[in-house]
Symmetry: C2
Subunit: 396 residues, 2 copies
């Protein structure tokens, strides 16, 4: 028997373990320190009431023989697939057929599992800095990875590397970790590049709910030609606080060309064989997100996070620190002042301001010298953190 | 870009579509026919009250900022991993460490996804008849598949094919679709075979809750040597009616030898990169299953299904029809009398008794001439179906 040898090539990430270790050490030395965490990538606001109500009502259905629900359709109940299609139509102006929408337990699973539809001989093109799961999933398959560089010069929005060959392209916009978001025009260039390379774009739209700018699309399908070469992967994690409830969806359009029109059928077979549908109670909660009341209440939470991000942005503006994100995103990706490395900045910020963030070097080579802060915390604490940040940056 | 060419080798199954089509046609011709469905592989009893209560209580937690739960640990909350370890200890007499238990969304996902830890060059050994997802997952990888035959002569419990090479062995006991269950002695032979072949056994224990016979193990780890070469995959779908709620678990022991002691670490990395944890509310419901009250109430449902299976078994005994299953299983796998094919028997049983079952030929070559009935229906309707079956078989 042969074990998959590619696993040996995975790089072990100690990013969050290291952060926890350093914070614990600091707390041991300073037991009374009042630490504020702005490193968190998780939501903190509770489920919106209409969503929680739907969850509980569905739970009650499960307790009664007359309304109990067993196995559901593998790709999601029609009520949810239709609700998502309607969201695309009314919110993004994008027409999708419900059978192009595959309900799943989240964007991370789909971003990795969809690689099974492609051979290991393809080349994956991945931006750096990057959400590490894209890289790991490709390394496990032994697939060749080429990187495109996000830099301060391109605003962490790398353009397609014309002339370079790619088969599978990962894009995440608004981006985790950099908060940068592509405009329609920039995405159109990526679509032209993918089309001419015979490539497919896997577009992670998990942060679409944070988009405010008119020229930044919520869905890649707002851009012409996208349905011919883009699979869009999205999630309710950030839109509606589903990080602990787990529901996402992947759109595989019928008109995909370079990838072959049958990609939708292949994904359907893959999910039938290796996935079980999302829990009925979660699908009912997700359906409630897409009602007018559910959207209103869920977006109040999104606005709460956006205000936090704006508060941090203001502190950085005041200090004249360069950053990407802060609009169209809960993330702020700042250039560490004074040529500090990401970890040096982490240590200093913790020691002198009692604020915890995430070193950018944990997201790839190009992340060195950068630092991620997020708007997912409590509003009052974020205000306090912003004041400390202002004082800290003044002294630096 | 190259699409995975192995998908073209998947055989399209029309089993359940064909059943639905034939039943619909019959109903159109006989609008007043009173049809009883004994083909169902899904549970029908509602969640046990302590389980439903825990689900709703967790749902309420999600609606309050003070108790809201976001991302959880990738492999399941410690409270659930410990509850499962405790179930193994007290119910099966098997000692597991909680970090050998990986919580997932169900057995089907894990049975397929775990193949990523092995190269495509390995040979998979799969019994026929078989749950089709094992085959599909291996076909998608282009892995060579060898079959071992379940037959009436071996009671649909094939013995290891001594002298034949295998790397990855699928066993499901109690079996879906045949209802047959291996004894400890029979499993010991499989473990010796796997060990000497340098193979790993993927043991699907999804139906363990139906075991009554003392010499049939609930967990493969009741058999000596199993921890050295077996990964056990289990689910709450049948134990506690979680088919629509989705929670299972995979045990990857620390002492695996032929597969390499690192298989546990590899599975952990795979799940970290490509899976999100099971919803918090579902994990709380699952935790409640393993409390004394939860187990008592859930097993009342299991007993309900077992009584149904016994009612059907009695009808078959009376008619002198050969079958496997009916004890240790919700399934009865009968030899179609009069040399009828599976589909001929289906049509006759529907036309003459108004009872729907599942043609065995849908589960592989060796299923031809066999037929699956299940105990998952309503008790009164199952009694009625058994009476009709008795009359039908007498006339046949």
């Amino acid at each position: 028997m042969q074990l998959n040898p590619n696993f040996a090539n995975l790089s072990q990430s100690y990013l969050f373990t290291d952060i926890a270790r350093r914070v614990a050490a600091y707390k041991e030395e300073h037991p009374n320190a009042d630490i504020i965490r702005l490193g968190i990538g998780d939501v903190t606001r509770p489920l919106a009431k209409p969503v929680a109500d739907a969850l509980c009502a569905a739970g009650a259905e499960m307790a009664d023989a007359a309304t109990f629900m067993g196995y559901g359709p593998e790709h999601g109940y029609p009520f949810l697939r239709e609700a998502i299609a309607n969201y695309y139509k009314t919110k993004h102006g994008v027409t999708l057929s419900p059978d192009e929408i595959f309900v799943s337990d989240g964007a991370k699973s789909d971003c990795g599992n969809i690689l099974e539809l492609f051979t290991a001989d393809n080349t994956a093109l991945i931006p750096d800095p990057v959400y590490p799961a894209y890289v790991d999933a490709n390394v496990m398959d032994g697939r060749r990875i080429e990187y495109v560089s996000g830099t301060r010069e391109n605003g962490f929005l790398p353009a397609p590397p014309e002339g370079q060959k790619a088969d599978i392209i990962y894009l995440c916009s608004p981006n985790n970790p950099t908060g940068a978001a592509y405009t329609k025009k920039q995405l159109a260039a990526w679509i032209r590049y993918a089309y001419s390379s015979g490539a497919v774009i896997l577009f992670d739209a998990a942060y679409e709910c944070f988009v405010s700018d008119k020229d930044v699309p919520h869905s890649v399908y707002e851009v012409e030609g996208a349905k011919e070469c883009v699979v869009e992967i999205c999630s309710l994690s950030k839109t509606a606080g589903f990080t602990g409830l787990r529901c996402g969806y992947t759109v595989v359009p019928k008109g995909l060309r370079p990838a072959g029109e049958d990609l939708r059928g292949m994904w359907s077979r893959r999910q039938q064989a290796k996935f079980n549908e999302v829990p009925y109670v979660v699908q009912r909660a997700a359906e409630a997100v897409f009602t007018p009341e559910g959207l209103k209440a869920s977006f109040e939470n999104v606005d709460y996070y956006k205000k936090n991000a704006a508060v941090i942005a203001k502190a950085l503006d005041k200090a004249g620190v360069w950053y990407s994100g802060g609009v169209n995103s809960p993330y702020l990706w700042l250039a560490c002042p004074g040529n500090l490395t990401s970890w040096d900045f982490f240590d200093k910020l913790l020691a002198e301001a009692g604020v915890v963030g995430t070193p950018g070097s944990g997201f790839g080579k190009n992340g060195e010298g950068y630092f991620r802060l997020t708007g997912f915390g409590d509003a009052a604490r974020t205000e306090e953190a912003a004041q400390r940040l202002t004082a800290f940056l003044k002294k630096l």
